[in-house]
Amino acid sequence: MAKRIDDIKSLGVITSGSLAEGLEMRLDPSYSVEQVRAGKFVVVEGSEFDFFCMITDVMLDASSASILRDPPPRSSLLSDVLAGDHTYATVSLKPMLMLERKIAEKDFDREEDLRPVKSIPAHFSPVREASNADIAKVFGEEEKKRYFNLGTPLDMDNVDVCLDLDRFIERSNGIFGKTGTGKTFLTRLVLAGMIRSNKAVNLIFDMHSEYGWETRSESGAGKDSFVKGLKNIFQEKVLICTLDPESASQRNVGVDFEIEIPLNSIEVEDIEPLQDELKLHPTAIETAYILRNRFGKSWLQRLIEQDAADLKDWADEIGANKESLAALYRKLGKIKNLKFVVEKSEKQIEGASSNKASINKLVQELRSGKHIDLEFGRVSNMLAYLLVANLISRRIHQAWVDDAEKYMSTQKLEDRPRPLMITIEEAHKFLNPSAARQTIFGTIARELRKYFVSLLVVDQRPSGIDDEIISQLGTRITSLLNDEKDIQAVFTGVSGASALRNVLASLDSKQQALILGHATPMPIVVKTRFYGPDFYAAMGMQSKEEKAESSAKITSLFPPGIIYPQSPLLNISSCDKLDILKRIL
């Protein structure tokens, strides 16, 4: 049970405030102003309600202007006398939630009882630091699989701030922060949480190949050491696909599939979002549509195969603008140079080698619940990234819309599509105001929640993302941002953002993040969880000995040679089997 103010020292008292502007607290003279940090979680004890608040600003004040005009000498009796009574600190608090105090612990229901703030506490209500019990009450506890521990609140070590994963996957989400603030680690944490809980299946467009296997830690205690990737931790649950098998073999990491994209499967809609990247004029896109109408699926192949010298005649023949056609020809030639674009059909790709896969295969794996990390290897140029991400997402879009419609018609639970979350980096490239209307990601962010697909947008420049998209993001996890425009963008569509701005700008540059939105009951600053051996173990990663032991257990329980035709355990990994067995036993 949370300690009441009678048991602990009060941080201060409320002296003024309004619902719109937040509360003002006079800091107790026994506290040093330096102990008070923006982003800290505090509780105001009103007469009937507890108000959960965040510290948003700290100010120095004096009872009389003459004190400020003629300051007392440093460390004099006078300065001691004035401190606390005549020269004092006031702290701005932003009330986020209120909870009726008479609700007993056992009757507490997080969804019902934690209410948005609709009133403010009376004058001189005492304020105390939040206790571990308060944090657990508001943010849930990780023991319940619905919640995922993301870190600890500022200045508190033994309590976890949890993300409500059920709510997290309901909407598209964003992870922001300027470069070097730990965006990648944060993203890896969140992805690990989702994979462990199995709440949603993940597709990660891994532009810099940093989520699947070990990567180098850039800073912190383990600087330059290597940290485990998702594949290391979750083994069979995660499939690594690559567009650049050479890079994978050079890095000496395993790959489940090499993705190849048939030239014929590239459609004009896949090229459209590349307008900026390829510097294509709108008439060039119109020319592409002319080609598509004339040659169908093979339009791109036909275009690329043309001899440059014959373009003029060809343009006349098909009735296209010569300059536009020439531009299209020149610029789309780059696509042919991409190694993973091949002149084969999807069937040929899959027939050629068991290791090769088309996009269809990828969609199937996602449907069956495997998480996919798509590495770009060395082809991490923007053109390849945009093309592939857009192309794959369009196929997925189609597949999930079909599945969702089937589910609508049958209304059977087994037909319900698995929620899918697509992680995209450098999101402003897909979701900038001009691209957001054309790329599939704009559509997903806006409306695909209905079809069980959402986005995890990872970006260092949120101001580049279309306002309409950003306002639709459910949960935003933000590391330090300095640029005023970026900060403004992160708070698009958030009420009372001005108070949170100070908090965001005052984050540490490492291992701290502000979480706000749908998956947390109130915004909070966390010191993010350390991504290391403890975390791997918490995620269920087994050491070699443990693995041998568990496989021996499974063999003894399910001797080989016996067929279990109706067993639900047939198609799941050994980790899952053990997990299920543990629960049964």
Partner: protein, 200 residues
């Protein structure tokens, strides 16, 4: 000074004028008078506590003024031994509270000490009690006596006397800051003087 306050436990004066807010006392013959800003007690059971705000020596007969006699001060007693009998020491004290069973309660006493009540200086223990409730300084401040700032400063000196700079000084400083809430300059003057005196 130390001896004046700490060792004089017997009566050294007698109340000759008394009212709700102050008393006038006369010192016994041959006894040094009280110091400005020092604390006195008068009365029997609930003793009234006061602060000396004025001390004067004058002729016993109010109609006779002393005149200059042009004798060296050291030889005064030898040349004019009768003079002591013709002079009296008077002290004026503001009442600031009562002391009952060793506990100090600040505020004007319900009844002032009676006429001819004996007056004694406050002991160290009494002063320790006074120090717990420095709010009485406000009574001095509000008394309207001239140079109340000077009087308050001297009171504080007596309160802190023989005690090093510490939390006690701080708590008195806090009480002063409350009294001089609207007059930072006065507060600054008093505290700075108090501090320089302490450091001296």
């Amino acid at each position: 000074m130390d001896n004046n306050i700490t060792n004089m436990s017997e009566s050294i004066g007698e109340v000759i004028v008394t009212n709700t807010s102050e008393i006038i006392g006369q010192c016994h013959r041959g006894v040094p008078t009280f110091e400005y800003g020092s604390f006195i007690m008068a009365g029997k059971t609930a003793q009234c506590v006061g602060v000396v705000y004025n001390v004067e020596t004058a002729s016993v007969d109010p109609n006779r003024r002393a005149t200059a006699i042009e004798v060296d001060e050291d030889n005064l007693d030898a040349v004019h031994p009768h003079l002591k009998a013709l002079l009296r020491n008077q002290f004026y004290a503001l009442l600031i509270g009562t002391m009952k069973d060793g506990k100090f309660q600040y505020g004007l006493p319900p009844t002032p000490p009676g006429l001819h009540a004996q007056v004694v200086p406050c002991s160290d223990d009494d002063i320790r009690e006074l120090r717990k409730q420095p709010g009485f300084l406000r009574i001095i401040h509000d008394s309207g006596k001239s140079s109340s700032e000077e009087l308050i400063l001297n009171c504080c000196r007596h309160l802190l006397y023989s005690f090093e700079r510490s939390e006690k000084a701080l708590s008195i400083g806090k009480a002063l800051s409350d009294i001089y809430r609207d007059d930072y300059d006065a507060l600054r003057r008093i505290i700075n003087r108090l501090e320089s005196w302490q450091n001296a």
